[in-house]
Structure formats: C-alpha cells, structure tokens
Amino acid sequence: MERAAPTASELARARLRRWAFDPRSGLLALAVVIVLLPLFLSNNYFYDIAIAVALNAIVCVGLNLLIGYAGQISLGHAGFFALGGYGSAILSGSQGWPVWLSMLTSCAAVGLLAFVVGRPTLRLKGHYLAMATLGLGVIISIVVSTEDRITGGPDGLSVPPLALFGWVVRGEHTWYWIACSGLLLAVWLAQNLIESPAGRALRALHGSEVAAETLGIDSARYKLQVFIVSAVFAAVAGTLTAHYAGFITPAKASFMHSVELVIMVVFGGMASVFGAVVGALVLTTLPQLLTVLKDYEMMVYGVVLIATMVFFPQGIVPTLARWLAWWGRR
C-alpha cells in the first residue's frame, strides 16, 4: 500500500523538531536572546541581574557536563569559583600583576587542583568525587576566611577592575557583553566536548560502564577530563565575578553556594546544556523576585530540589523537550 504523502503541517512539524534538536540552532537562539535582551533591560539593576545570570550559567554549563555526562556530583564547585576569584584578586591586587595574567594563572591553578583531587578519586567506582570535592570546598572556605592578612578574612577583599592593555572595563553595559560572550563561548565549548570522542565515550559509559570498558574506553580518564573542564569553567566565572563586583567574600566559597550551583543544574536538567542555562536563569532571578520570601528561601530551595528529583528527575528543560518531541511525532 502506498503511504500517504506527508501533509504540509506534518512537514512543518518535522522540520521544527529537527531544528529544535540541532545544537547549533540552540546556540543561535541563545545569541539572539542575548542580543535582543538589552531592549528590555531598562536600568542598571536589570543589567546587574542579567550579568549574574550569565556568570552563574557559565559555572552551571560546566557542572552540568560533570553531573549529566560523567554521572558524578561535585559538592565543592563554589570552592573552585572562589579560588579563581580570590587568586585573581590577590595576584592583580597586592601582587600587582596584570589582570589578564592573574586571571589566566588562577584558572590554570584551579585546573591543576582539580587534576590532583580528581585523579585518585575518579579511579574509584561510586561517588567518591562528591566526598572529595565536599572536603576540598570546606577546606577552601575555612582557609579564605581564616587567612585574613592575605584574603581580608570574613570581611572580604576588594578587587581591581578588569583591565586589558590599558583599557579599563567599567559599567554594567560593557560587562553585559563580556559576561554573555563568556557564556556563549562556554556553551559552544560544552557542545563540542559532548560531540567529541570524550563526550561520546561518556555517553557510552552512561549506557553501560562494563560494555564501554570492554571496547577499550578509559572511563576514569574521560571523567577526569570533564571534571577539570568543569572546575576551570567555575574558576573563569569566579574571576569574572570578582573583577565585575570589585569585591569578593568567603560566602562565595561556602558549602551552601556549592549546593546552590548543584540545584541550578539539577532543576534545569542534567545532561542538557541549555537546561543548565535555564536553571541558572530561574534560580538567580527567583530570589530577586521573591525578596518578601527571604525567610523562606532555604525551605523553597529544599522543596524545589526534592520536587524536581521526585517529579521531573530529568529536570525542566529535558522534560519540556520530551513533550515537544511527543507533540512533533503526533
């Protein structure tokens, strides 16, 4: 029997579906949103929030690679974030290094630290990385609030502004473009990593670790690569945040901040780069909108986390994507 020719609406739906699942179109859509958004940002306060969203999203895109693709949690990403920020602040401040060099150095140092911590722990089966990063995060947070002669202690440390070859970056508008370019770059890198041999190996591991290993995939090595990338993403966002805000406090290194970052990733959707961006968007803006609920903030976070895990274990964006796919197939 001859199949009926697809109708115009079926074709349109199929095209929409193909478009919606092509990673490049997602990147393009994000770029369009970033370019158009300033039309709606009527004052510096909104710019400030948009910058915070973009910088948090950079951390989340990295952390999402680790949680979603390597199947490992980090409970110390705030430590990497803060170490990037403090490192760059101290080198460019009291040590007088050029800002770009101090940013590069502190991000590289964080990458090295991630290597040192990840290498022994990722060779073990199970969730040892979560415990190691937890311990490391708490150590970092105690050190930055105790070594007050170097870090300013609990009062925090002021940070010189970002300067590139004599051009000093100031103002929310310039920073908006810097933060958003950083985010686009992070998303692009993450998408490439997922499509690279490392990403495909990790997806194979997700299916069956034993099967993947019989094919010669060195799971520990790929997990380590992703962990280092995610730590460096956090450090980059940390240095940018420190130089943007002009100030950094030990709260940035706290266990609670690490947990917030995990909530953003889990809420937006594990194994979904755009899920991480959406998670950062929702959980960065929500506390701003709900200032009246300040006393309930911790409870709300707890409920959001539990409810997401129980009802949408995939997170918000992958769940929506599944609905879209279902609608497209109908």
Binding site: I67, K125, A132, S219, E297, Y301, G302, M309
Partner: protein, 291 residues
C-alpha cells in the same frame, strides 16, 4: 605536660563519641540504600533544638531525651516516606541530591519553628567540673560517653541478636538475595531512617549542653560525622565508632598543639587523605574496587 595531653584526649573522646553516633547513622542508611544521607546532621540539630523546647516547657530530663529522640525519628520516617520512597528506583546521585534538598528544607523549617538564635541546654547533672589526674572534665562529657556507649551496645545487640537486625545486615550485603529469602527491603530502608534519626537526635541532646545548638548546628556535625564514617569505612559499624573517636582525638590534639583556627579543617583533611590513600577506610576494604 601530661595533664595537658590528658585534657586534649578527654575533649577529643567526648566529641569523638558524638561523631561516632552521627557516623553510625550515615553507615546504617548507606547500607540500606547505597546513598549518603546529607540530612543526617539535621537529625542532630532537631534532637538538640527539640530538647531545648521541651526543657523550657518544664519537663524533666529523663522525659526530654526520649521525646527529643522521638521527634527526630518521626521527622526521619516522614522524610523517607515522602521523599526517598517515591524515588526509590532512581540512581544514587538522585537520592543524594534529594537528601541535600531535605537538609535545606529541615534547616529552613527549623528557622521558622524555632528561630535563628543560639540556644543552650542545661547540663544533665550540673556544671561543676571534675578533676581527674590534673585534667578538668565536665560531668556532661561523662554523660556523652555513657550515652554513646549505651547506644552502641544496644545497636550491636539489635544487629547481632534480633531477627530484624540480621535482616538489615543481610540487605546491606546483597539486597536482591535478601529479597529472595523473604526480607522486605522497603521496610529495611524505612527502619534505617528511623534508627539514623534516633542516633542523630541522641547525639544532639547529649552534646547541646557543651557546644550549644541552633538551626544550623547540624551542618558541621553532619559533615564531620560523615568524615568519621569515611575514615572508619562507610557501611562498617565498628569502623564508624573507631573513625569517630580517632577523628575527635585528631581534632582535639590538632587544635591544642597545631592551630585552633584550623580545628574544623582537620576533619576534611582526614577525609581527603582517606579518599586518596585508603578509600575503603580502616574497616571497609571490601567496597574499594578500583576501576
């Protein structure tokens, strides 16, 4: 010099006994589910805070302790029923994230039910310090040690001598085989949370007269109890007690002879060292398979 050592050892053993109780809670839930319960510290906080409320209501200590423990047991069982049970089939990562959510929720609720202030609980039998070979020991320290020893004794009777305790042990070795011989592993998980809640609350009530208690006092105690469990070997009961005592001693001696500012760091340095060099812990070697 000798009395100084003795002083540090006394305070180390006291906090070590508390870490041991918290570590036992971690191990019990780990054995039943393979997950790490990040709300364990919140059970400690609930024990301490409800004891403060009950004492303020004029109840005598022998009534306060079981009631405070009961409060934490009810909270722990509710947590299992409402948040862990519905996600029972999910991955370990999911379960860990749920317990992190639960710890935030419980801390947030504690802020509302109580407040953000620091509370103290009267010592069980006065504050007059006892002199022992030149070292000063608080009577409450003896209560802590006695209470912890009693709990550990009761627990080893439960796991070694009762049918249900043995069923829980069987589940920790092999859940599927346990199910095949007729053990209800869902009930085992449920009871594990109750037991962990009780141990946590007991730790909270015993230590509150020495260290005070507040809505967020569970964070550090929970994390250190976890480090103790890792040191002893996650899932091992002897290991949890050993790990707790060693960690308490390391902390007290480190704070006394090295740096008191970095007292809280010691537990986490120990945690990292364990993960790097002997991931099975002191007593849990059977779980350390390398990839």
């Amino acid at each position: 010099m000798g009395s100084q050592w003795l002083q540090f050892v006394a305070s180390g053993v006291t906090s070590g006994a508390i870490y041991a109780l918290v570590a036992l809670g971690f191990s019990i839930i780990y054995n039943a589910s393979g997950a790490i319960n990040f709300a364990q510290g919140e059970f400690v906080m609930i024990g301490g805070m409800s004891a403060v409320t009950l004492v303020a209501a004029g109840l005598p200590m022998p009534v306060v302790v079981p009631l405070a423990a009961l409060t934490a047991v009810v909270v722990a069982l509710l947590l299992e029923k409402l948040a862990i049970e519905p996600a029972r089939k999910a991955s370990t990562v999911t379960l860990i994230i749920i317990t992190i959510g639960a710890s935030l929720l419980l801390r947030g609720l504690a802020q509302l039910v109580w407040d953000k202030r620091i509370h103290s609980l009267p010592a069980f039998s006065g504050d007059a310090p006892l002199q022992f070979m030149g070292a000063t020991v608080l009577p409450q320290s003896l209560w802590v040690l006695g209470g912890a020893a009693l709990a550990v004794g009761a627990l080893s009777w439960f796991f070694g001598r009762t049918l249900f305790g043995k069923a829980m042990l069987a589940t920790s070795y092999n859940p599927l085989a346990a199910q095949l011989v007729g053990i209800n592993t869902r009930t085992v998980l449920f009871v594990s949370f109750g037991l962990a809640g009780m141990l946590g609350a007991l730790a909270g009530v015993l230590i509150a007269p020495i260290t005070f208690t507040s809505y967020d006092s569970g964070i550090m105690l929970g994390l250190k109890g976890f480090a103790a469990a890792m040191l002893g070997g996650l899932g091992s009961f002897n290991g949890a007690v050993l790990g707790g005592l060693l960690l308490g001693l390391a902390e007290a001696l480190g704070a006394g002879f090295v740096s008191s500012a970095y007292k809280d760091v010691i537990a986490f340095v120990v945690l990292l060292a364990v993960l790097f060099f002997m991931p099975g812990g002191l007593r849990g070697a059977r779980r350390s398979d390398r990839v």
